[in-house]
């Protein structure tokens, strides 16, 4: 692969940008570049990375899942209440239950989209509201706070194995699993086909409905798992947990080069996109910029990313008519006069 082709790859560009960003922040505050600090950044971003992977699978099929944040908050509240009222339950139950609840919420989205044929944005917009409201009904508006959780509930993601927190291990496993699934399994590849050209996918015998249902279940299950991890990490569960976070997740995908038109995207791009946002969020307080800048900066970054994306995508494959040499005009023929 020659150098220009390498430079055109989204992942390489992002990697360079992240390096520049780290260098710039490191110049202002060298403490940011210590392994401990970088480890914290990774741990802080782990949840975003997992969610971005799930979201990417959905966007690949030309869908969108706006309900992830609500799903996460609902599942988080479920596990929190379980931990509060049944502290004796082993952590394995929570770990199994969280993705399961998320899966069920995702399956509702998936069924409505795949078989009732309601556009994804409408369904997930509806469940975004509905799931969020269900948290309030479930908890009666009360929050579950630090001392009410059982010890293992809070401790599990903080355990460290080979110097890496369990939270990060889980993120690694989920992201690696997604990468293997999307790149090496038949179903994973068919997701790209469904998004790239649904009609062609149908003709080669791919079950589009099955694929759609699957991605929303997957995104839901990941959101559910992240719900537990989020609540455990911040040690509080309340109705507004992760309010509006779905847009950050989608932003991470978009920055990572996932095309909302479907069919284009990679796990590595997603991870880098998520890391980029995570580093910005963590770096601002370190270089003493008010955290209120974070939203404006990420908005600006998203816009830049999509403009760059549009440049690189526009020329590929969409050009059907090419300019050719102007046709040589045929020599004029004098038609014989028709007798009138």
């Amino acid at each position: 692969m020659d150098l220009t082709a390498l430079a055109r790859r989204r992942e390489v560009v992002l990697l360079v940008l992240i390096a520049l960003l780290l260098a710039a922040v490191g110049a202002r505050a060298p403490v940011f570049l210590t392994p401990a600090s970088l480890g914290d950044v990774l741990t802080d971003t782990a949840i975003l990375l997992m969610l971005a992977c799930g979201q990417m699978a959905v966007i690949l099929t030309r869908g969108i899942d706006l309900s992830v944040a609500s799903n996460m908050a609902f599942t988080g509240m479920c596990t929190a209440l379980l931990s509060k009222y049944h502290p004796e339950l082993p952590i394995a139950v929570t770990l199994a239950l969280a993705p399961l609840i998320g899966f069920c919420l995702g399956a509702v989205n998936g069924a409505l989209i795949a078989w009732v044929k309601i556009p994804p944005i409408v369904v997930t917009l509806g469940t975004l509201s509905a799931y969020r409201g269900m948290i309030f009904i479930l908890s009666g508006g009360a929050s579950v706070v630090t001392h009410e959780f059982s010890r293992p509930y809070l401790d599990f993601p903080r355990q460290s194995l080979f110097g890496v927190s369990a939270l990060l291990w889980i993120a690694l496993v989920v992201c690696a699993g997604m990468a293997v699934f999307l790149n090496f399994s038949r179903t994973g590849r068919s997701l790209y086909a469904v998004g790239g050209n649904p009609l062609a996918a149908r003709y080669v015998g791919i079950g589009i409905e099955r694929c759609q249902f699957l991605v929303y279940c997957l995104s839901g299950a990941i959101a559910g798992l992240c719900g537990y991890l989020w609540v455990s990490r911040y040690a509080i569960a309340f109705t507004e947990v992760a309010f509006g976070y779905e847009l950050t997740v989608i932003a991470a995908c978009v920055i990572g080069g996932v095309s909302v038109a479907g069919g284009i995207g990679s796990v590595s791009g997603c991870l880098l996109g998520g890391l980029f946002l995570g580093i910005i969020g963590n770096a601002l307080p370190v270089i003493q910029v008010s955290p209120f800048w974070q939203m404006a900066i990420s908005g600006f970054v998203i816009l830049c990313a999509v403009i760059v994306n549009s440049r690189s995508e526009a020329r590929k494959g969409k050009l059907i008519l090419r300019e050719t040499e102007p046709p040589v005009p045929a020599p004029l023929q004098v038609r014989p006069e028709t007798p009138s």
Partner: protein, 328 residues
Amino acid sequence: MTSLRYEVADRRKAAAADFWLRWEVLLLVLLGIVMLVNSRLSPWFLDYYNLLDSTFNFSEKAIMALSMTLIIVTRDIDLSVASIIALASVFMGLAAQAGAGVPLLVLIGLATGLLAGFANGAIITRFQIPAIVVTIGTMSLFRGIAYVVLGDTAITSYPAGFSWFGQSYLVWSIPFEFVLFLVLAAVFGFVLHFTTTGRRIYAIGNNPVAARFSGIPVDRYRLVLFTLNGLMAGLAAVLLTSRIGSTRPNIAAGWELEVITMVVLGGVSIMGGSGTISGVFIAVFVLGMMTFGLSLMNVPGIVMSVFVGVLLIASIAVPILIRRMLRR
């Protein structure tokens, strides 16, 4: 034999079911049910003054829903409207702090909205990027600017006369905001359904490429519609800021989804090319009356969102399922 050998396949004979399955009719029935249930459950619901005052809660969103309808009919979407409100409100607040008069404040609010909408449209049409991605970006950017300017403070120093726009009543104690919505709804309905511009907007939504080939300047239309949508958000910002008399960076948070819910519930297809202003008009009342009724019964706002979400999905799913059953 005088009958035709072929019949036009896409023009079916009108059946009674078609009328009853028309979106506007279904919505009217739904509105009737909502009114009936509410009036049974609360003795204060069917009160003239209560009902008129309840319009304060949805007039601003309803005004934005009108221009959002046009955007969605052309297959686009604008997620940044609530952030435009925040941005416009912040600039009005800064101007008010600097001692600007009421006309200047209104002008600043409208101009900010107009420019923000133009920025959306310009990026979308210049770079040919899907509207949903661009407006997710500007949604973050516009509200982000509001946060940068205000941090965790609020601006409340508005001149006394400014409260007129959001708090005043016209004749028969009808709120000014509500009258404005009715007038704008008539204008939008006229433009969309009775002018060439309106027909072209449908054409763009049905098939942008075909529309372009038949000579419609598609990108110019989209640019104008996004600018218009920004202007309407600016207008909503004027009304809302005037009504609550303060500006916080989280003003109108989450409104973009409520506005889109109004439009989609109104029967406008998110895939573009279909939908009516009258449908959206009725949907505004369905949602408005439902939330008003629930609030009379002391249901917290967050629980209402369950009803709104379920209503949105069910209102689309049920007709689809009924049609599917009828076809069997």
